[in-house]
């Protein structure tokens, strides 16, 4: 039996809204800090540890402080074959950060992620919701410059 069988109707309804609510909070704040999660716990009546457990499960719900623009470079096989590590190297050259880090001016955070569905344009990355494929060092520099 799924966990749903043990809960009341109202807590199920609150639970069903959790993921959309977390995304909404993320839209307002750059990340899901403890303050944000605590207020969400108060609003929904769900325990803070449950909300934290859900938030930390998903890769696109950053809990730690993140930069204004999140760069996600795909490291999976088709992109790896087309030098995804070189893309990460180019970004390090331009911004001075490695995966898991944020620039000092908080303009960018960098992460290495799983397949983003751009295998025919490998190597590829996402910055926020936009996909950039067929990357070269020159193209990467140009793309990064276009972000404030």
């Amino acid at each position: 039996m799924s966990a749903a069988g043990k809960e009341t109707q109202s807590s199920i309804a609150n639970r069903a809204e959790l993921l959309p609510a977390l995304k909404q909070e993320l839209g307002k704040n750059g990340n899901l800090s403890k303050t944000v999660l605590t207020s969400l716990a108060d609003k929904t009546g769900l325990p803070l540890n449950e909300i934290y457990g859900v938030a930390t499960f998903y890769a696109y719900l950053p809990v730690a402080a993140a930069g204004k623009n999140i760069i996600r470079v795909c490291g999976c096989l088709p992109c790896d074959l087309k030098d995804a590590q070189g893309v990460i190297g180019s970004i390090k050259k331009e911004l001075g950060i490695e995966p898991g880090q944020t620039t000092a001016d908080a303009r960018f955070s960098l992460e290495q992620v799983g397949c983003i569905g751009a295998c025919d344009q490998a190597p590829a990355m996402m910055i926020n919701d936009t996909l950039y494929g067929n990357l070269t060092p020159a193209r990467i520099a140009e793309i990064l410059k276009s972000f404030k």
Binding site: M1, S2, A3, A4, G5, I12, N14, R15, A16, E17, L18, L19, P20, L22, K23, G53, V54, F57, Y58, A59, Y60, L61, G75, C76, L77, P78, D80, L81, V113, G114, C115, I116, G117, A118, C119, D120, Q121, A122, M126, D129, T130, L131
Partner: protein
């Protein structure tokens, strides 16, 4: 055999932002036929007769699944379209959703009639957020035409988790939980989303439905092989001249897809099905692509002679280890240990017992893991040991030699070559 663009038929032909262009091409005729001229049981029978199997990777007979849900007595039933396409090498659903959301909606409407669902979700992965507005608009346009009277369709966005493409983890995600797999039974058609009968189908599976209703089950089952009917949309990437999306009849030879259409020249090995997909050598290039042989999700990655098989398998396992939901021990710990062994092999730190350890772990994970991720995770390892065993043996021999050399008096002495 050339490409057979049936599921891809409207892509690049209709305007995905304008339902009128879809209607002009005969869109929603199948739904109207199913709604006005067929009984729900009749729709299920037609899909069963067609032999349509799941296109997301598992390949379960679609009609049989719908029948199970149809026969479960319940007031509330759910339909979910799995658009969480996270498999490595897979991008067909992104292509389909961006160019023809209407065929998917029509397929969902027919499925809803067949199983008796009132509420449907399209679980769209977060990485495809850019498709969200267009998808919602397409649903809105279909609603304005009066097609959504029996079924409400909502788009539910994921948040970055490969395992949420697994149906039970997907349901947990919609319920606002961690995307962990569930113990089965019960299976979704009996008890799924919020314990109600639920059908989860891949985007491509649902997009086959209007064609089957329009042209008949016999038309569909005339294509393909004994167990794999119809066409399949393949995604080709890696060492090919023309990566992209191609649709072929089931049972078409790999050679036709890889060399004929995608322009691969130098092939050492091919991985078929994604990160946990089979790795086969170039000598098997004539193999037909079907459930009976190799298929999975239809993601095909070509590897040329410059590629190192152990590096490939290591990359795959890194992904699977990262994406494991962590609930069951065989997968959570097994992927971790296999990753460690493969990592040492790539760095020249292999030991004699590594191969037997890999085989042992692989067998255990296949038997004991809760879901497909853990069960299939070691397939690339086992396949590469079967077809490229000498690469592992060489790597271990080199590691043993390197260690003994670095520890030798010769190396430590002034004459040692560095």
């Amino acid at each position: 055999m050339a490409e057979k663009r049936i599921v891809l038929g409207n892509c690049g032909v209709i305007d995905p932002q304008n339902i009128e262009t879809y209607l002009a091409k005969g869109g929603f005729k199948a739904f109207i036929k199913a709604r006005d001229k067929m009984k729900p049981q009749g729709i299920v029978e037609e899909i069963k007769k067609s032999g349509l199997t799941g296109r997301g990777g598992a390949g379960f007979p679609c009609g049989l699944k719908w029948e199970l849900a149809r026969n479960t007595k319940a007031k509330t039933k759910y339909l979910i379209c799995n658009a969480d396409e996270g498999e490595v090498g897979q991008f067909k659903d992104k292509y389909l959703l961006s160019k023809d959301p209407f065929t998917l909606i029509e397929g969902m409407l027919i499925a809803g009639l067949a199983i008796g669902a009132q509420q449907a979700f399209i679980y769209l992965r977060a990485e495809y957020h850019v498709l969200y507005d267009q998808l919602c608009r397409a649903i809105e346009q279909a609603k304005e035409k009066g097609f959504l009277k029996h079924l409400d369709i909502k788009v539910f966005e994921g948040a970055g988790s490969y395992i949420c493409g697994e149906e039970s983890a997907l349901m947990n995600s919609i319920e606002g939980r961690r995307g962990e797999s569930r113990y089965k039974p019960p299976y979704p058609p009996t008890s799924g989303l919020w314990d109600k009968p639920t059908i989860i189908n891949n985007v491509e599976t649902l997009m086959n439905v209007p064609h089957i209703i329009n042209n008949g089950a016999a038309w569909f089952s005339a294509m393909g092989t004994k167990r794999s009917k119809g066409t399949k949309v393949f995604c080709v990437s890696g060492d090919v001249a023309r990566p992209g999306v191609y649709e072929l009849e089931m049972g078409s030879p790999l050679k036709e897809l890889l060399i004929g259409l995608a322009g691969a020249k130098d092939i050492k090995a091919v991985q078929i099905g994604g990160s946990a997909g089979s790795i086969i050598p170039a000598s098997m290039i004539d193999t037909p692509l079907a459930h009976e042989t190799f298929l999975g999700s239809g993601a095909v990655v070509a590897l040329n002679s410059s590629r190192d098989i152990i590096d490939i398998v290591h990359n795959d396992m890194h992904f699977l280890n990262e994406e494991s939901c962590g609930k069951c021990t065989p997968c959570r710990e097994g992927t971790e240990v296999i990753l460690e062994i493969l990592g040492r092999l790539t760095r020249g730190e292999g030991v004699a017992g590594d191969i037997s350890a890999l085989e042992d772990l692989a067998r255990t994970m296949a038997l004991a893991s809760l879901c497909g991720l853990g069960q299939a995770a070691a397939v690339p390892v086992l396949d590469s040991l079967k077809y490229f065993r000498e690469e592992y043996i060489n790597r271990i021999d080199q590691s043993l030699f390197l260690r003994s050399y670095l520890g030798s008096e010769f190396y430590k002495s002034k004459e040692g070559v560095r």
